[in-house]
Amino acid sequence: MSQEKIKKIRVGVASCGVAAGADAVLELLRSRAESIPVEGTGCLGHCYAEPMVEVLLDNGDSVFYRNVKAEDGYIDNILSLGEKDRFEVPPARKAKELIKVLALAGRIDPTRFEDYTENGGYEGLKRALSMTPVEVVNEVKLSGLRGRGGGGFPTGTKWSFLAAKDTPEKILICNADEGDPGAFMDRSLMESVPHQVLEGMLIAAYATGATKLFIYCRAEYPMAIRHLKIAISQIYEHKLNVINGRELEIIIKEGAGAFVCGEETALIASLEGQRGTPRFRPPFPTDSGWKGYPSMINNVETFGNVPLILREGAAAFAAIGTEGSKGTKLFALAGDLKNPGLVEVPMGTTLREIVFDIGGADPDKVKAVQTGGPSGGCIPVELFDTPVDYDSLKKLGAIMGSGGMIVIGKDRCMVETARYFLDFTHRESCGKCTFCRVGTTRMFETLERIVAGKGEMADLEFLEDIGPKIRMGSLCGLGQTAPNPVLATLRYYRHEYEAHVKDHQCEALQCSALVDMHIDKSNCIKCKLCVKTCPVGAISDDLVIDNEKCTRCNACKDVCPKKTIHRVKKGSIQ
């Protein structure tokens, strides 16, 4: 193959790639590649292999390189099509994945309009425009597409609500306020194929008669915003925003960092320039939304699916997935596993396939997986044969959510994990509903006590009692789901809670208040690196750790070349 000529080189420069150093790789490649065009592209979803470089050959083949560094050695290897650092999609992942929505991610330059149109882009819009709006709504209904933001409401039905309104102004909003910590599906989609999201919005605008289009995007996603802005100006240039003879305005509004704004009425309040607090429904936004106009909100990934449905037809879309959940779903896979990244699988794929086959996690080391972020629950490894769709996960006390999936290893404490989520939700509660505002705070304080070894058995009963009350007493999804992480861990890992309370023991040795640091002298080579490293001077010259002084920062444990320093149960070694 080394006889082949290089046609083009692509470097993945989405946020993950850049964080891994892809910018410098791109720059060095450009300066070294001479006449070969080098371009930036989006995300291929293999985050563990970033920075990634694709070399396109004259014969149409591609060679991928992984973990490339901005050093001459790496660049020489690539330009000479060397065998080193080549990347292949792991076969187990290839077998389970079904790439539909992400088909163009990492394959095109997201800032070039032609790259999108030459690959089937805007054919869905073209087909939609050849149908009546009612037919388009029906096509989406027939496809079985459900809201990808986590709610799972049938998209076509939602569209029909807005379409039925007979008002001169109707508002269409794309919810790009991806606030779940641990989720990055929407970011990748907007960065890598912004036109696909916008095409979905334009199709929706035609089907529903919407006149004004908003994208409410997190300010923390500067690259997504930049790419969307470029794409919008290209749409204006090609007059694709002229629908039914009317020029539609597409406006990007940057969110200001409030998790609750993922809820639709809160999002609308924020779009109006107010505090993002939810309000009672009805009236539903499709009756009275932004400034009183009928408004409809769909998630980024939902819009990203729409062009496929129109291009390939509802039947093809509905052929994928399970009875109640159609199509594919994107998951942001992270945590304790070998191959974190963005994956796309048919609905109904089991957790086992996603975590072990695709993610490459070690079955001996996984304890659970957290789906749905702070609104979801953990699912223990024993239940990994559960198919992932809207309905199955709900039965287990978790939710599919927008697609964040965090693998939790055996060395993590579930009580601490629950504490972390409640720390997040109690701070993000907007304060409107008492049960959410005070209830989540009380839950958080109780969990703080338990991880500090100061909990009582009555605390566990309190958590189980107040959880359902917070659910019932909250207006919006934030409060209604906030107790999930606690109730789910109590359901599956009650013994861990009890061990903290009764025995002052953290099985995973993670809760610092319940552990001591200890040097196992049998293997120690007395290099004293730990003594030098300890930031608080807690290790004496004869290698004894003063656990009163020690802050459990792990610096000594990490620096020890013989791995002789361990966390042990508090008071277990004198």
Binding site: S15, C16, V18, A19, A20, C47, Y48, E50, E178, G179, D180, P181, G182, A183, F184, R187, A219, E220, Y221, K253, E254, G255, A256, G257, A258, F259, S270, L271, E272, G273, Q274, R275, G276, K291, A332, L333, A334, G335, D336, P340, G341, Q370, G373, P374, G404, I406, I408, G409, R412, T417, Y420, F421, F424, C430, T551, C553, N554, A555, D558, V559
Partner: protein
């Protein structure tokens, strides 16, 4: 209105642009000062107390002047699982400031954010928007050194 805030004219007087106006001010000055609240209140015709009400709701807005280099520790789920608490402690110790503070010479400021969206590189932090991944104590010290004399 203070000429300093003339750029608000580009935002548009419509009250629904209040957040955009606050973002413009913070973009220009790095934080929202009392002075800029007065200017925004005058420009939009919204009482200052309401402006303060909106800005205090959103985590993005800062009322304290940040340092030349703004360090954001990601405490998203993946980073938390991978030890962001310790990343925070190490940074605090190295810089002598807590999350939400700026050091005395105005060089570094530290904050904790919900998620930077680079979960597969956890734990991560960003310095003025540039993301650094797979952090450990050694790499943090190295990164800080890089910015120390900049």
């Amino acid at each position: 209105m203070d000429q300093k805030y003339a750029f608000l004219e580009k935002v548009g007087k419509e009250p629904s642009n209040l957040i955009k106006g606050l973002q413009a001010v913070q973009g220009a000055e790095g934080y929202v000062s009392d002075e800029s609240i007065a200017a925004i209140s005058e420009y939009f015709g919204i009482p200052a107390v309401e402006v303060e009400g909106v800005l205090s709701f959103y985590a993005q807005f800062k009322r304290v002047k940040p340092g030349k280099y703004k360090i954001a520790i990601c405490d998203g789920t993946a980073c938390h699982i991978k030890g962001s608490t310790q990343v925070g402690e190490w940074l605090s110790r190295e810089l002598g400031i807590q999350s939400g503070e700026t050091d005395a010479r105005g060089h570094f400021s530290l904050e904790t954010v919900a998620c930077l969206g680079c979960c597969s590189l956890a734990p991560v932090m960003s310095v003025n928007g540039r993301v650094y991944g797979k952090l450990d104590r050694k790499s943090i010290v190295k990164i800080l050194k890089e910015y120390e004399n900049k």
